[in-house]
Point group: C2
Chain length 427, copies 2
């Protein structure tokens, strides 16, 4: 029976049962963290052998003879470019290999646009108003960058096929103050949605009012499938933009943070040859080069895209049981109650939960009180404000499957409790 159909008395009875269960649950003293898309320790073990790939007896020269121990090579050693290009479904001439984090590359592109402009256009710091489109729910750290620079963030609703493209086109093609859009095209954070071919093609075919409008295409989960037989595919944005006559319109990002080690991976940007030349003018002032030994470590370990993909299956094996345990509990505990819905992604790091309106903050607080930490409610929206207060991001990666089942159990209990209270308010 859906909660909404219950009588006041039924609800009050239910509430007192749930209250009792909640008191019991609190007494268990859980301490579980589902707040961030952080791999678990056992998942990190999957990559441990990489640390043996480079030692004092290794040949530390790259394929073209560069001594990777010394200064130089601004944009990455050739074989690292090739590996990242293959991962990103593009070719090495589109690639710059950076340091350990794609977030830093994104910040860097925004900061460079702000200080120096893109391909000769006016630096954004000289403009009165900059706007960014923010498909939401989305990734809080994206929004943190644009908020920090004082850009106005415009929320674009997400659908199962990606951002609402009518709205995107409306803004981008008519307002020259709109300079960018944040996109996580595959297994989006937090919903796990993948942009449809139509969405990608419409993105690539935008006719921006601003010559320096860019797609900030964060392909964070490009090879992060959970299942062998159910893999989402997303079109290559670099070639789609080329085909649409907008070759310079996209900055695409990826990293091995969730492939090898978060913080000790390698990250890359893919973009047009013209953009690469433009970026390098700045990059050569910023650094002499990134960590080539770590680039070599990655290449020697993964060898090629097949090695990468085989490695990702091991990650999937670690992740799948956690997703399944969570989804199983959600279905069992909340299915048919009409008090929430959730996504069932084929990859990525998150499950997105939609509670009844006005309940997300209270659910997260109740979980916290009983020892289960979730991402702060609203975090997935610009300025941290979820207009409906309904979205909750569940990150199943860090706990074990057993812990995830426990955590999901508590989560479901809190959803029920807060929902009952909400419904009672209006009875």
């Amino acid at each position: 029976m859906q909660y909404i159909e219950m009588s006041k008395e039924e609800l009050l009875t239910l509430k007192s049962e749930l209250d009792a269960r909640y008191t019991e649950a609190k007494a268990k003293g859980l301490k579980l963290d589902m707040s961030r898309g952080k791999p678990s320790a056992s998942q990190l073990n999957v990559s441990l052998d990489m640390l043996d790939c480079i030692n004092s007896s290794s040949d530390l020269k790259s394929e073209n003879g560069t001594d990777c121990r010394n200064y130089g090579v601004l944009d990455g050693i050739d074989e690292a470019k090739k590996l990242m290009a293959d991962m990103m479904n593009t070719t090495p001439e589109h690639i710059i290999v950076y340091g350990n984090a794609s977030l830093n590359i994104m910040y860097d592109q925004i900061s460079r646009a702000y200080t120096h402009g893109l391909l000769g256009s006016t630096p954004w710091c000289k403009l009165d108003k900059i706007k960014f489109l923010c498909p939401a729910p989305g990734y809080d750290r994206h929004f943190a960058i644009t908020e920090r620079f004082g850009f106005e963030m415009i929320t674009i609703p997400m659908t199962e096929n990606g951002p609402d493209m009518d709205m995107v086109e409306q803004y981008v093609n008519n307002d020259a103050a709109v300079k960018g859009i944040w996109c996580v095209p595959k297994y989006s954070n937090p919903q796990g949605y993948t942009y449809s071919d139509e969405t990608v093609k419409r993105m690539a075919a935008l006719k921006p009012a601003a010559e320096d409008f860019r797609l900030f295409w964060d392909n964070a989960y490009i090879i992060h499938d959970l299942y062998d037989d159910k893999k989402d595919e997303v079109l290559d944005i670099i070639s789609e933009c080329e085909k649409a006559g907008n070759p310079d319109m996209v900055f695409e990002f990826a990293s091995t943070s969730k492939v090898s080690f978060p913080g000790s991976g390698i990250a890359a940007m893919a973009t047009s040859v013209a953009n690469i030349a433009d970026v390098k003018k700045q990059l050569t002032v910023q650094t002499i080069g990134h960590d080539k030994i770590n680039q070599l470590r990655h290449v020697r370990y993964f060898k090629d895209i097949n090695g990468l993909k085989a490695h990702m299956k091991k990650h999937a094996d670690a992740m799948r049981p956690k997703f399944e345990a969570t989804l199983e509990v959600l279905e069992k505990e909340l299915g048919g109650l009409g008090i929430g819905s959730w996504t069932k992604p084929n990859g990525g790091y998150f499950i997105s939960f939609e509670s009844m309106e006005g309940c997300a903050k209270a659910i997260v607080a109740k979980c916290k009180e009983a020892g289960v930490t979730l991402t702060g409610a609203g975090a997935a929206f610009p300025y941290g404000k979820d207009p409906k207060d309904s979205n909750i991001r569940i990150a199943p990666s860090f706990p074990t499957p057993e812990e995830m089942a426990l955590a999901a159990d508590l989560f479901a209990l809190c959803v029920k409790l807060v929902s009952v209270e909400k419904i009672l308010e209006n009875k």
Copy 2:
């Protein structure tokens, strides 16, 4: 006999001898690079064992239990902070450990000041005019950053005791557009001069017209001594600024680029606690954290400051013969001729040569023609323009001592040849 005292005939005879020797030298087909302060391959071997410090069996937890393989820790693991603090003669609360390059940290501070301002002051991008003081000869990559941001660079003459402090005080204390000064306080690039205690104290005691004026204190060679018994010492700028009531006035930089591996080292900034809080507000938007496994690798290998210093003796053993070979040739070939002078530093990576006025470019070109690459003449000055065209940076680190002797020999020959031609012009 000094060249200047020779008769025209003597000079012409000399010139024809030198021409003949130069033709011979060219025929040797030398290929030597003294252009950058790059360690040699054998010097890099000194650090090779570091690559065995971390492997798949290592405990990858930091002292406080942090799993260094995972996300997190914005400002560096505690033991890396301690190591860098000890290296920089300060304490860990003043330290942020960054990624692989101090140049990048410097860029980052300038860029942050430009986009967001320092400690609440007006972002530099909102100001009409920014000026930077550039003690010269200095480090070309410093000047490249300030040039890229369009700051006016003001050349400050260097002395054996550091920058001309009368001039520095004059500018800094009276002109609010002056926002910074580039300093390499120990074994300056390229002269190898070390700031005297008086210079450091006067720097710390500046009374800037601009509240957001900063010393950009690049302590690149802080532990890079050549001799056990002749070590320059430079006062700790952090505590000197504190004592002078200017705790927030300095950003100090250092790295292990020339200690472990260039490109694969760790870099740090030291500054006041207030500045650190200010920086972290931005840094948390830029990144989740730097490479903690590499931080751990460094700490496990060097253990502590004593380990670092013992390691630097091995570097000194590799470097000293190159410096000595160069200085020996310069003394033997050019001593007493009155056509050039050069520095004899106790550490760092460079020897600075002063030719007769108007000769540096021609000397560098002549060397190049015969297969010896030097740093471009003028590179050590703002905008690449040496007003006297007399400064040449010699970087002895990359070639072997034998190659350095050969290269110095050719260099001396080119100095003679160009000087004779110059003197003849005026006879």
